[in-house]
Amino acid sequence: GAGVSQSPRYKVAKRGQDVALRCDPISGHVSLFWYQQALGQGPEFLTYFQNEAQLDKSGLPSDRFFAERPEGSVSTLKIQRTQQEDSAVYLCASSLKGGQGRTNTEAFFGQGTRLTVV
């Protein structure tokens, strides 16, 4: 596709339920990022992949959050035993290159998945 695609666009989960959010990056993009955006806030970094390698997961708020990108393309962000504080928009982004020394490529964002935990 032409851009980063995320699904579902909206997800309502009951507290305690597991959810999986999908991201299809732009074809050929090496780097993939997940961000969490709470209402009225700027996006906060969650995790970074370079191809299939998860190089930085320092932003994941708890061990209930897990991300994977097994074939270096599509990525899934999984949240186990969802809590109300997990309610946010989850944004995925990709860029052609990334990592040390590669600063001149911008990240392109998907439309996000709005997760509401009730």
């Binding site: 980063v4 996006p43 970094f45 190089l55 930085d56 990592g99 996000g112």
Partner: protein, 115 residues
């Protein structure tokens, strides 16, 4: 630590007037700075970036930004605002190293352009 600050929660401007959305940064080393715009229920759209070179950077939709090293600022500007420019604007600094690559965003500034 890398950070950016957007001191204004909201900026109001009349259509046709020039607009400025402020951003200051704090980084160790060379700053790699970005502006993104977010429309309601949409993801972030890239506007422009400063990596190196000219201090005045031109971007999408007629926006430009001025990098000022002495004032550690990267203000977003447009000579003549449109009602359709009304949106949420985020300044960000890129931090990348051996095992990381991330954007650190400001809290955002809501731009309201009145007809």
């Amino acid at each position: 630590a890398q950070s950016v600050a957007q001191p204004e929660d909201q900026v109001n401007v009349a259509e046709g007037n020039p607009l400025t959305v402020k951003c200051t940064y704090s980084v160790s080393g060379n700053p790699y700075l970005f502006w993104y715009v977010q429309y309601p229920n949409r993801g972030l759209q890239f506007l422009l970036k400063y990596i190196t070179g000219d201090n005045l950077v031109k971007g999408s939709y007629g926006f430009e930004a001025e990098f000022n090293k002495s004032q550690t600022s990267f203000h977003l500007k447009k000579p003549s605002a449109l009602v359709s420019d009304s949106a949420l604007y985020f300044c960000a600094v890129r931090f990348n190293g051996y095992n990381t690559d991330k954007l650190i965003f400001g809290t955002g500034t809501r731009l309201q352009v009145f007809p």
